[in-house]
């Protein structure tokens, strides 16, 4: 039986030229974002039990993407933690996106990135959260760069242990090799109609598995 499988595998490998020896690799679970283009780009959403970085400048759709993810996670019954270094979380926008705020624990650190990092560490180690967002989007890049690689490793390790999807929102990437997925956001243009701001068109870029791919979406009012 074993010999037959080995023979079949070698024949298939010779025919399709793909490695077939990784059958024991653990299936990676994903938390979908609810945005089809991003889910296609990332292979199903943000990975659970891993660190994902979403980076980009202001008005590049980072928050729209995160609120869509938050909405999807709470809709699935997950408990979520939003650690907000700058205190920029807008409950009204999150509720508009469809997030169940009762399942969201918001920690408002009012500009203290160190407190945000410690809170994230405490909450992710407590376990039971499906999604933990570390929002450093308004933290100055210089201050965010001071977060040591050891801290990122600690967070990643805790995420692996508890199975939570840990997402850091930043101006630029900081976690380097600790992150399993990096999504770079770029603003394209604001969409105006008459006297109204209708939305923001943005472009997302993922460098997963060293292959750079892009997707576009519009966050509409």
């Amino acid at each position: 039986m074993g010999a037959a499988i080995l023979q079949l595998r070698s024949e298939l490998q010779a025919r399709f030229d793909v490695p077939l020896g990784f059958e024991n690799r653990r299936e990676q679970k994903h938390l979908p974002t609810g945005i089809e283009a991003i889910d296609r780009l990332t292979g199903g959403g943000v990975p659970c039990g891993a660190l994902t970085e979403i980076h980009g400048p202001e008005s590049s759709g980072r928050t729209a993407l995160m609120f869509a993810l938050l909405s999807e996670a709470t809709r699935r019954g997950e408990c979520c933690a939003w650690i907000d270094a700058a205190g920029a979380f807008d409950p009204a926008s999150a509720a508009e996106t469809g997030a169940d705020l009762e399942r969201v624990l918001w920690v408002d650190c009012r500009g203290n990135a160190e407190h945000a990092l410690k809170s994230a560490d405490l909450l992710i180690h407590a376990g039971g959260f499906g999604l933990v967002v570390l929002d450093l989007a308004d933290t100055p890049a210089k201050e965010a760069r001071r977060i040591s690689l050891a801290s990122w490793f600690r967070l990643r390790h805790a995420a692996e242990r508890t199975g939570a999807a840990l997402v850091a929102v930043e101006r630029e990437t900081n976690a380097r090799s600790c992150s399993a997925l990096r999504i770079g956001m770029r603003r394209k243009q604001a969409v105006w109609t008459g006297q109204l701001l209708r939305g923001l068109a943005t472009q997302a870029e993922s460098d997963k598995h060293y292959r750079v791919r892009t997707a576009e979406f519009t966050a509409a009012r």
Partner: protein, 421 residues
């Protein structure tokens, strides 16, 4: 099956002993306690073994009787030394030798029996019931039933007031939190044990510290779910006290817990895991200690048109604290435009040409306005001091960032409210 303990002068010890066996206890002052022993066979074996176990735990020399009804057990314990076990339907024979004075009754009744030459329960039980009724009335009939061991009544259970409090006066004032923690741990242990003995938990722990030459320091822990974790309570109280320490040395510690029924829930097989409430509460207390008490929780949007109006509620997912939940009915299929707020709004200088903003200058954001849409006037709550009245604009700057700015109509000052992202 009922058990009775009888030991002159040791009623409180007997009550404590009986509590270890049953919640249904009847005190019979001055020196007897009867309790419901039904169902204890499964734990302690036959009645004789149960009686030996009661004797072992009593702590004092006591007469112990086990009988099918409370009165028979009470009379046997008062009349026979050591352990007495009375089987069902053999009550009359077992009680026959007891002296008649144990039966009680009025002095006239006792005198009549004495004149008739009745000296024991057995003598009285043998008298014809109709004759007893004719000569001694209802009291005689009732007491004859007791003498035959036929009495049946419900226990009058002893009800303790449900107060879960403990206090300790210190020999010398304590001015450090660490030694105070030992005192609090001791009081918490006492209260938690009392709650556990009654299958209760608590959702509020109150701490009152009497200080030396200063006003009383009070604090309380309000928990979203009933808990009975002594270590978690202690840690939360320590965090609370380290954030808001007493202003003077402590001379007396008083602690109280609000008793409530414990939480009993079962997670569904296919429901995502939630944080363990007890562990979560402790974690949230730690985060609260770090960032401030009013900055951690679950936001609830207030029912008003005031911009950025919300209240921070305790995070208690899935406990139905908000009827109907807070999910927007317009839950989006497509990503929605979101605002990142500046708290507090940032003051800005705005250059206005032809009643439209053309340039924004602030400490963090500056630039030429390429597109400006507005104004949208909002105002409200004129009856309050913090009335709002403003004109809002959505502006795009030259690098492509889009902000919401507004002008306060009363003061004429401009502010950056947030960035669209």
């Amino acid at each position: 099956m009922y058990a009775c303990l009888h030991a002159p002068g040791n009623l409180s010890l007997l009550v404590e002993c009986a509590r270890g066996f049953s919640p249904l206890i009847e005190e019979n002052p001055p020196d007897s306690v009867v309790f419901d022993a039904r169902g204890l066979e499964a734990l302690h074996g036959p009645p004789a073994a149960l009686a030996r176990e009661i004797e072992r735990r009593a702590g004092v020399k006591a007469n112990i009787a086990i009988a099918p009804n409370p009165d028979a057990a009470l009379h046997a314990a008062r009349g026979f030394a050591g352990i007495t076990v009375i089987e069902e339907k053999k009550e009359a024979a077992a009680l026959a030798k007891l002296p008649i004075n144990l039966l009680g009754g009025s002095p006239e009744f006792a005198e009549s029996l004495h004149l008739w030459g009745i000296r024991t329960f057995g003598d009285f039980a043998k008298l014809p019931p109709l004759g007893v009724a004719a000569r001694l009335g209802d009291e005689g009939v009732e007491l004859q039933r007791l003498a035959r061991g036929e009495g049946y009544r419900r226990l009058r259970p002893l009800e303790d007031p449900l107060e879960f409090e403990a206090e300790l006066e210190l020999e010398y004032p304590v001015d450090l939190l660490e030694p105070l923690a030992f005192v609090m741990a001791r009081l918490l242990k006492e209260i938690c044990e009392r709650l556990a003995a009654r299958a209760l938990a608590t959702n509020e722990v109150r701490l009152r510290l009497t200080l030396e030459n200063s006003p009383v320091h009070e604090t309380s822990l309000r928990l979203p779910v009933p808990m009975l974790d002594q270590k978690a309570f202690l840690r939360m109280l320590q965090l609370d006290l380290s954030g808001r320490p007493p202003i003077a040395p402590v001379v007396k510690v008083h602690m109280a817990a609000e008793p409530v029924k414990p939480r009993r829930t079962q997670q569904g097989l296919f429901v995502p895991l939630s944080p363990e409430p007890e562990k979560l509460e402790l974690t949230v207390a730690r985060v609260r200690h770090l960032v401030g008490a009013d900055r951690v929780g679950s936001p609830e949007i207030s029912n008003t048109h005031r911009p950025d109006a919300f209240q921070m509620r305790a995070f208690a997912p899935g406990l139905g604290s908000r009827p109907g939940g807070s999910v927007s009915e317009r839950a989006a299929e497509a990503p929605r435009l979101c605002l990142r707020r500046f708290r507090p709004p940032r003051y800005a200088q705005v250059l206005v040409v032809n009643q439209r903003p053309v340039r924004v200058m602030s400490a963090s954001v500056s630039g030429r306005v390429t597109v400006a849409k507005g104004p949208w006037r909002t105002s409200g709550e004129w009856w309050r001091e913090d009335v709002w009245n403003r004109d809002e604009w959505d502006v795009a700057l030259e690098l492509g960032e889009v902000y919401r700015i507004y002008r306060e109509n009363d003061s004429g000052r401009w502010f950056l409210e947030g960035a669209y992202d």
